[in-house]
Subunit: 355 residues, 2 copies
DNA sequence: ATGAAAGCGCTAACAT
DNA sequence: ATGTTAGCGCTTTCAT
């Protein structure tokens, strides 16, 4: 691999000149010289070593994306929005899959810090682990000191108000989870449901709590007593939805609808119910959350909350770019609109009036 | 961020000593000194700069994974196998999503080259573009020169025999696509189908051609004439499957089964058929390829070829690790076994005997 | 308009 | 057992 010195020699100039040509430096360089340099670059197939650049604190045009599980369609969509947009702007995004393991997240963050990433996107919802959070906070601080923009997608606990003036803040892009969960719950209540099961997300995630909150608020608003036995502790997986189905079936008084915190849980519940011979939506309604693509293709197509995942990714990366350009620390909180997607998995309860 | 010099000062030693302690160098260092260094490292929260290390050609414990579309469940599963295994071995994998754009792939490859990745995994099937292939080949050569192991998953055209002694070779891990496609086609033929539609994958991918080959061989073996009008040019997307459905419906003589090159096409076809009121499998059978998880949950559950995606990822990364340890260039071709998963989307044609 | 030299953080070769 | 020095490839002063 050629280095800048070889290029310089071949062009009969100094490395400095090569550097100037390649970085469109403000220093003017003779157009003839420039030609020779460019030619040498081409023939030697020279690509500047970003490692060396990074060591000097120069832009790397690399953006790190931290994600818990990139194979989860939810994140996959967000990540797609991120990479597409970044690419259009000339940035390369490297996806760091933490498998939701705090230690791995930290390792990646450290790597990105040292590799002089030009920006960091937390695509995963935050892990709600105080000690870990502190460590992340610290690294984010380091980024901040280097003026590397950080943005958190979904509801990540990065910009909790702190006392210190060194307060770490990150721009956020998310939907209003509480409101969205409330909307869906109210829709179900409006349909006539009174006994509505809720499948919770993993307790370590902030989003889970928010969605539960919305569910509770809707009940309260409609004077329906909150029954803790109707909340099943899921973990955003298909399997937990399957288990939830067992939990909700044959309850007395009967549960007539289930609201899952994400679509995979909803799908699991749907299949669990089917296995038990419960007709959806005739005997029980099911609603999900996120609106991943495949929901349309199951039978019946699932009602869900549409989260603009792709858009979240796009706006996230735009925040990074904006921050880079303005050279300011931007701490903007963007709330994107959500909507209900009513499909065939929800209808009024079997015997109108409930109970 | 602390650097090695600060640590050295604080411990009252030279940077070299710090380096030796941190890298478990064979150089012996006084256990007392070691303690002091370790303490300084801890208090200063020192993490060695991998950029600087990389510049010196030292191991980075970073492995680059090149993938066309990480949100595709097929790749997602492979990538998962890769990251899990790599993590257990102390390696960090960075996912480079090319969106199947050759230029992006090249950019990533260059970045990885310079960032001194310790290994490269091509998780995508190869792009069959000669000029691009040459450029990739060249970069792979550079990796080889640096003794950075490269492995290609699926059927990537990286180790085409070449004349030069500098012959670029990469280990491969894949299934036998030709045989697998042949197996499925023969299964359909065995069921009594004679007019079997085939949905092709994108023409730029080698895997597509292989699977078509298998389909053709099965026909030939069973003395069924190959009818080009029964091959629909898909591109591995749901939409192309949808279009294929329109293509195959109402043909004379009727098509009684469709074999899609991947599961998403199969799903698209299934839904297209449903929309047109064609019963699956009663009027038409459908078979897919890959065995992505969601196939089980559609109605009817789809028959498909099971590709051990996770295992492919695991074995791929193991090749990398093996090559690193043996310090040899390993060019092993691993063929993993496939199998047919018979579900409910296939059955004998409506009027036995066909035609 | 161009170049020489210093230095980013680290490690390996070479002292001591 | 420990330290000194040089240098990885690049950019950035500071000359010329």
């Amino acid at each position: 691999m050629a280095n800048i010195i070889e290029v310089a020699k071949r062009a009969g100039v100094s490395p400095t000149t090569v550097s100037r040509v390649l970085n469109n430096s403000s220093h003017s360089v003779n157009s003839e010289t420039r030609e020779r340099v460019l030619e040498a670059v081409k023939t030697l197939n020279f690509v500047p070593n970003p490692l060396a650049k990074g060591l000097l604190g120069v832009e790397t045009h690399l953006i790190g994306v931290i994600v818990g599980d990139a194979s989860d369609p939810y994140y996959a969509n967000i990540v797609k929005g991120i990479s597409e947009t970044a690419q259009n702007e000339g940035y390369l995004t490297i996806i760091c899959n933490t498998d939701r393991i705090p230690e791995i997240e930290l390792r990646f963050l450290n790597a990105l810090l040292h590799y002089a990433a030009d920006g960091i996107v937390f695509a995963s919802g935050g892990l709600n682990l105080p000690e870990h959070q502190d460590q992340v906070q610290e690294i984010v601080n380091s980024f901040k000191k280097r003026h590397v923009p950080v943005v958190a997608l979904g509801n990540r606990n990065l910009n909790v108000p702190q006392v210190s003036i060194d307060d770490v803040q990150a721009a956020q892009v998310s939907i209003d989870d509480v409101q969205a969960a409330q909307d869906m719950t109210e829709y179900l209540i409006g349909l006539g449901h009174r006994r509505i099961g809720f499948i919770l997300g993993p307790s370590t995630m902030i989003t889970s709590q928010r969605r539960l909150e919305g569910y509770q608020q809707a009940l309260e608003k409609n004077q329906i007593a909150f029954d803790p036995s109707l909340v099943f502790n899921g973990d955003f997986t298909f399997e937990s939805g399957l288990q939830a189905a067992s939990h909700f079936v044959d309850r007395q008084p009967p549960v007539t609808a289930v609201f899952a915190s994400n679509d995979r849980e909803a799908m699991g519940c749907l299949f669990g119910l089917k296995q038990k011979g419960i007709a959806v939506p005739e005997q029980m309604s099911i609603a999900g959350f996120d609106d991943i693509e495949m929901l349309q293709y199951v039978n019946p197509p699932l009602t869900t909350v549409c989260v603009p995942m792709h858009e979240i990714g796009v706006r996230g990366i735009m925040q990074i770019l904006k921050a880079k350009n303005s050279k300011d620390v931007i701490v903007e909180n963007i709330r994107l609109p959500h909507s209900l997607v009513i499909r065939e998995s929800t209808q009024p309860p079997p015997n109108q009036g409930g109970q």
